[in-house]
Structure formats: structure tokens, C-alpha cells
Chain length 268, copies 2
């Protein structure tokens, strides 16, 4: 089971050797983004378990500098789908969770004790909030998948972060990091396990090694083959270059530093 | 099993209701930071499985803007322990993984095609790299724990990020995010499951709600009780205020924006 999933994960270029196997590893290897749902609801207790898993993730010095806002109301979910670049599948999810970097609680405690909160203005605080939120979100995704649910991350909640913050009623020093759509996967959804870079490209032993162009070339072939099974013609190298070349690759997110500052995370 | 772990996770203030249960949820709920190891080695295949799990996590638009550097050499591990604020337990870990935000691969591809890489200069790219690295790291931690190993995050690789980057040989546009120490847990390690904030404080339904001071007060009592079992006298509210009040709470990380810029992540 693990072995087969690993072969799909690496598009046939899986690491050699007798790897340990267990049900958790198989679950993690099999992750895929699910954007088609049956419409069956996800009950409150299930989300409670998912959030308990999220809270069980590590958090920097136990500061718990994150929150999650759960959206179920159809109109509000439709609005966030619109703000996130018109991603219609979001409307079909049973629940939409927005993970938030959240220093508002600590700021409130400082204010209640007559103290300032200067350290929140530094980029280190922004980064800790984003990392805390990401660790929590990943545990939420693993928990949801363990229950047979499908998930997909929605980074485009950062396309219009101030409008999203307003919709969610976020206080100063709380900022949307990622959304996670959750629902029962449509059994006819063709989305598969997307191949990743060969492990030797991403894993460095003792010292960072620049990627071997031959490895990148092999991966380009593998990924193109995967996208073809999805009816798309798309290359990985071209996408990487488009992403970094100029600000067009940021889909409007080149202004996010100003948005962070206006929302109380100056990121200096 | 899940129920008992949840009760510890919330220090007795666990969410009510009949929650779904399974072995993965139990594993996630039981997470604890492990800083004492038996000294037994962790073999290469085990790290291969852990990294394959990390690569299976979602990544923004499949850009895979992260890398991991695996440290085993005793002298190098001792050096990173020193750079990370003299955390001696790091020396006792079997493996030390440094998760890295990595736009160097994409920049290299752009350069090879005669293209610029302007978008890397924006804070959105820094954040995507940090979030990608965090999602991967969390899957690595879950994978390691599923194999009976103990882990602890080490955020203080950011105390001296440029020295860490130099030690690891990181290229421009690659920056250390977090370390993860991994080893076989010492069965005599008393570290337990640290209680988190009540779920009602962190989970918001449709709209963000400011925390109820009574909930925070209850949590303060719970956390103090937990630290007492660990032989420490420590409050959560005081720690939060110390963290945000002024730059002393950042342990030197108030200069991290300059370090990011010097390492090719201008974060503008």
C-alpha cells in the first residue's frame, strides 16, 4: 500500500530501499487535493475533532499565535469564494476553514496589563503567526483525511486579505494565512496523487547541493505526464519561471506587506 | 484512547460531544515535544520515509518552495546546537532536520532561461516559503511519531539565521525556517501532553470573537498546573506579555528582516 502510494508520489522515481511502512505513512503519502465534493454535510463533532488535531500541533513556545474561523453559511462561503479569485469549488465544500495568524490575543493581554506590544511589529512575529497557523492547518488536513474527507488548501484568501479579514471580523494583528475547504470527496473526481520532485533534489545531507538539471528535466517529464492524465498541458519549469519573473506572478499579492501593516502586523 | 488523550490535551476542559475516533486522531492528539533520547540511531530508510511524508504535504501551486538539510555529523550538530541558543538536547538527537524556505531552485531556473526573479523580493514569497516549509515539517513530525520516534521543533535556528545558512551552505533565496530534532524517546522523559487553550477560544464560527477573559483565566490555572508537574513555575499570560511587550521578547530576532534581505529574500 505504502509502496504503491510512494511510486505515485514520485511518478515512478521513488527512493530505493526497504522503507518502514504503517497506516499513517500510507495516509500521508496518498494526500491529494480534492475540489469536487458530494454535497454530504460534515457534522459539528467532526470539525471539533479536526480542530482538536490542529491544536495538538506544536506552536512556538506555546504562544498559540493562530485562530481558525469556520465558515458554513452559504452566502458567506460564496463571498469568500469570490474574494479568493472566484474559485467556485469552494461553494461546494461542506465547511471552509480559514487559518489565521493571530497576535490579537497576546496584544489584548498586554493591553489589559497596561503593557505595550511592540514586538508584534517585527517580521519575526508575522512569520511565527504564519508558521503556527500552517502547522495547525496541516494537522487539520491529516485529521480530515483520516476520516475519509477530502481537502484543498486555498492560498488565494491572501489575494484580498483585507476584505477577507473584514468578512471574518478579524481584529488588528490577526491576518488570514490559508483557507482549507473540506468535504466528502466525489468518487468520480479524477484528481490524483501529484508527483513531487525526486527526494534527492529536496533532501540535502549535511550541505545544501544545487539541483542537478537532469533531475529537474526528468521531473518536468513526469509532471507533464501527470497533467496530461488530468486533461491539461502544463509544465513545471515554465510555471516556476512565471511565478518568480515579475510581480505578475504574485496575482496582486505584491501589496501584501502594506495589507499586513494596515492590519497591525507591520513586519518590519 | 482518543478520549483520554483529548482530556490531557485540554487539561480536563475538552470539547463535549461524541467525537469521531481513529488511530490517526489519537496519534495527533498525543503529540508532545521530546527533548530526551536514548541514543539509539535512526536509520537512513526511516528518514527517507519521513522526508517522503514531508514531500506529500500540500505546497503552494506545486512550487515546492522548500528544502530540508539533514544533519548527523556530531561536530555540525554541536555547532547548530550552539547557534540555536545553546540547546544541548539537540546534540543527543539521532538526526537534526533543518527545514528551509527555498526559492533558490526557481531563481536558478529563471536565470538559466535568461529571466529575472523579481517576485522573490516580495514578502508574499517569503511567506509562501515559510508556509511550504512548515506544512512539510509538520508531516515529517507526524510521520516520525507514527514510527514511535520523538521530535521537537527548534525555532531558534532563526536566532542566528545567517550563521546557520552558512553552516548549511544555503544559496541566496534559501533561509532556515525551523529545525526538527528526532530521536528515540527516553522512556524516563517526564514531558507530557501540554494543555492548549479551550477550543472555544481558538475556533470561531463565522465571525471572530474576542476571547472571554474567564476562559483565559481558566487556561492560566490549567497550564500552571501542568508546568508544576514538570517542576516549573510558569504562567501563560506573563509569557505572552513578555513575548510581545518589547524587542527583548524576540531574543535577537528583531533583526531578521535584515538577515532575510541579505540572504536574498528582501520581503518588501
Amino acid at each position: 500500500m505504502s509502496e504503491q502510494s510512494l511510486s505515485l508520489r514520485y511518478g515512478g522515481d521513488a527512493p530505493a530501499g526497504a522503507l518502514p511502512e504503517n497506516a499513517v505513512l500510507s495516509l500521508l503519502y496518498r494526500h491529494r487535493s480534492v475540489r469536487r465534493y458530494t454535497g454530504e454535510p460534515v457534522d459539528d463533532e467532526t470539525v471539533t475533532a479536526i480542530v482538536a488535531a490542529a491544536q495538538s500541533a506544536a506552536t512556538s513556545s506555546n504562544h498559540q499565535a493562530w485562530s481558525v474561523v469556520e465558515l458554513r453559511d452559504a452566502e458567506r462561503v460564496a463571498r469568500i469564494a469570490e474574494l479568493a479569485g472566484g474559485q467556485e469549488f469552494i461553494r461546494d465544500a461542506a465547511v471552509f476553514l480559514v487559518f489565521v495568524a493571530d497576535w490579537a490575543r497576546a496584544r489584548g493581554l498586554a493591553a489589559a496589563h497596561g503593557e505595550a506590544a511592540e514586538a508584534i511589529d517585527y517580521i519575526e512575529s508575522t512569520l511565527v503567526g504564519f508558521v503556527d497557523a500552517a502547522l495547525a492547518a496541516q494537522n487539520a488536513v491529516v485529521a480530515a483525511e483520516s476520516l475519509g474527507l477530502g481537502t484543498v488548501y486555498v492560498g488565494s484568501v491572501r489575494n484580498a486579505p483585507e476584505a477577507v479579514a473584514e468578512l471574518l471580523g478579524l481584529p488588528d494583528a490577526a491576518f488570514p494565512v490559508v483557507g482549507v475547504a473540506i468535504g466528502h470527496p466525489d468518487p468520480h473526481d479524477p484528481a490524483g496523487i501529484k508527483p513531487r520532485l525526486p527526494q534527492r533534489v529536496v533532501r540535502h545531507r549535511e550541505h545544501y547541493r544545487e539541483a542537478d538539471p537532469a533531475d529537474i528535466g526528468d521531473y518536468e517529464t513526469t509532471v507533464r505526464g501527470y497533467y496530461e492524465t488530468q486533461g491539461a498541458s502544463r509544465g513545471w519549469i515554465a510555471a516556476a519561471i512565471t511565478r518568480v519573473r515579475d510581480i505578475a506572478g504574485l496575482h496582486g499579492r505584491h501589496t501584501i506587506r502594506e495589507a499586513l501593516a494596515r492590519r497591525g502586523l507591520a513586519s518590519r
